[in-house]
């Protein structure tokens, strides 16, 4: 076997082989492949069982949205028979789900923009050589990684009150807190990604007479784009689905985000399960569409985040 082929999967950190490259076990002997297939049947059964465990509740929920309050109670909830309708979707929008959708979309987009700008800024600093000050700075950032947001939510609430951002019409409190709590992991990942880029690139460009702006445009921006995309998916998911921050920092029903909003439906429509299920289903739908559109990138992003 050639030494280059062996070495490439063992490369530096951050140099993991792309998922689609053929791997060494492709070349196994037929005998061991047969043995492997036998061994795999146990895991195959488990994998299929888990597939059902994932799909059955989702199927139940989807089917429930196609009933109305009456048929949900009388029809078999596991089989799509009888009268099916989309009425629960109408009801859920009439009850104000649209407002929550808009709130969630605005908060997620604004939070992501702020966050990605921060990460770019941090990446830029790292490209311009780490100083002792910026190294200490990273230590401060790591502290935030160790302390969970749930633990500090009480003083966060206090700060937001003091700044007059509680339950604000602009959702500024929610946005800033979501952003701040996402900073540690996001900045750390961006910085560790950018740090792996050789300094020669930067030197070469400086020698060529590049100023700060050309450095940023021609080096930092193109290099950080993939890691920023990864973060956008991960942090976007966390924003969209966050429950605790809007719960603590807002009080008017109009300022709730989707997860909090759909639990308000639960109190309001306790016995109208189809409406509640429709609300849950719609709150997931935008993410589902995105996921179907960019499945590969999403899987790589979620899995890659923690391994960095």
């Amino acid at each position: 076997m050639s030494s280059t082929a062996v070495r490439s999967p063992l490369g530096r950190r951050g140099d993991a082989p792309p998922m689609d490259l053929p791997r060494w076990d492709d070349r196994r002997s037929i005998r061991s492949r047969a043995r492997r297939r036998l061994r795999g049947s146990g895991t195959f059964v488990l994998a299929t069982v888990w597939l059902l465990v994932v799909l059955i509740p989702l199927y139940y929920m989807l089917l429930a949205t196609l009933r109305n309050q009456g048929t949900y109670l009388t029809a078999n909830p596991w089989v799509p028979t009888g009268h099916l309708s989309l009425g629960s979707y109408n009801s859920v929008f009439a009850a104000g789900l649209g407002r929550y959708l808009i709130n969630s979309a605005i908060v997620t987009v604004v939070t992501l923009i702020l966050l990605l700008v921060f990460c770019l800024g941090a990446a830029f600093r790292v490209m311009r050589r780490a100083t002792p000050a910026s190294r200490n700075y990273m230590k401060l950032v790591v502290i935030g990684l160790a302390v969970p947001i749930q633990a500090i939510i009480v003083p966060v609430y206090l700060v937001v009150i003091k700044l007059g951002l509680y339950d604000s019409v602009t959702e500024a409190g929610v946005i800033l807190v979501l952003c701040a709590t996402a900073v540690p992991l996001s900045v750390l990942i961006t910085v560790s990604f950018i740090r792996d880029i050789p300094a020669e690139l930067y030197d070469a460009m400086s020698v060529d007479g590049g100023n700060e702006w050309t450095l940023f445009r021609n080096l930092v921006w193109p290099l950080s784009r993939p890691v920023l995309a990864t973060l956008a998916i991960y942090d976007g998911l966390n924003c969209w689905n966050n429950f605790l921050v809007p719960l603590v920092l807002t009080t008017s029903p109009n300022h709730a985000l989707l997860p909090l909003g759909i639990t308000k439906f639960q109190t309001q429509y306790a016995y109208n399960v189809p409406v509640i299920m429709a609300a849950v289903w719609i709150s997931m739908l935008p993410l589902l569409v995105l996921f179907i559109g960019m499945r590969r990138q999403v899987i790589r992003s979620l899995g890659g985040i923690a391994l960095r």
Binding site: L10, R35, L55, Y60, L73, N76, I143, A146, A151, Y157
Partner: protein, 291 residues
């Protein structure tokens, strides 16, 4: 100038909403504050209350149960599924894609979905009981003293196993194939290969995943708040929920800050212990001996 542009805004926001609250948490635990007036000095009163509060003790116990059971449930299943989907074949990518679906739902959505499914009168599981007359399906899933906590932990696992499956999938894909070649040449059986190649090579992934499960499950909040609000009795009242209730239902912010401090310290200690205990720092050479 570059410093200011690069780090200025982030410092402001991160400082105000993370660093100040971290310090504020500790400070506030020495004050009495009802959320409206001026906080007054309380000395060690909140901490004395913490030691004497039976609910806090129960909450700590419930929280530790959640952590241990979550790890025990999530780790083996996620590892098995991750190793499975790391293989090749079109249907494995289909499986992998479907596995991700729970990650797209919010915890709130998942809670509402399962509460509809498990409703003892009208839920889908109750329907199956009435159809099949299977007594085991006739339970008050979220209202029973013995079942509520395990059911919530299982629902939480349903949500998070997909994420850890992804981690193990990535971890398995980063294991150099030469190791499996060598094992095959040595005539190793499937289990031997798993024990002597896959498992040791995955230790980095196992540590990462374990730290995330432990720190994550210490702070699970949403599902307990939405589905049981701590009940029945104190059976599902985790530390983060008790802290929330102290602050936002009983307006005892100082005591809540003391509970929050315990939560923060537990989270840091747990992560630190796992990292030290597993020698994470020396894992740099996890692939030593191959190259």
């Amino acid at each position: 100038m570059a410093d200011l542009v690069g780090l200025g805004p982030i410092t402001l926001i991160y400082g105000a909403f993370v660093l100040v609250p971290i310090v504020g948490l500790l400070v506030l635990s020495f004050f009495n504050w009802n959320g409206l007036g001026t906080p007054t000095w309380a000395g060690l009163a909140n901490w004395r209350e913490l030691v004497n509060d039976p609910t806090a003790g129960a909450a700590l116990e419930v929280t530790l149960k959640v952590v241990v059971l979550s790890w025990l449930i999530q780790t083996p299943i996620a590892m098995a599924l991750g190793l499975f989907v790391a293989g090749r074949g079109r249907w494995r990518t289909v499986y992998a894609a479907i596995y991700v679906l729970p990650l797209l739902l919010s915890t709130a959505g998942i809670s509402l979905m399962w509460s509809a499914l498990l409703n003892p009168d009208l839920g889908g599981v109750a329907y199956l009981y009435h159809t099949w007359h299977l007594g085991i399906l006739n339970q008050n899933w979220l209202g029973s003293l013995t079942l509520a906590l395990p059911v919530l932990i299982v629902i939480n696992s349903w949500q998070w196993i997909p994420f850890h499956t992804l981690l193990y999938q990535m971890g398995r894909r980063n294991i150099p194939g030469v190791l499996y070649e060598a094992a095959a040449i040595d005539g190793a059986s499937g289990w031997q290969t798993f024990w002597h190649v896959t498992l040791p090579q995955l230790r980095y992934t196992i540590v990462t995943s374990s730290v995330l499960i432990v720190t994550g499950s210490l702070t699970y909040f949403d599902i307990f708040y939405i589905l049981t609000d701590g009940g029945p009795g104190n059976e599902t009242r985790v530390l983060s929920l008790w802290m929330y209730q102290q602050a936002f239902q009983y307006q005892s912010f100082g005591y809540a800050a003391a509970l929050g401090t315990v939560l923060a310290i537990t989270a840091i200690l747990a992560a630190g212990l796992i990292l030290r205990f597993t020698g994470f720092a020396s894992l740099r050479s996890q692939q030593a001996g191959i190259a």
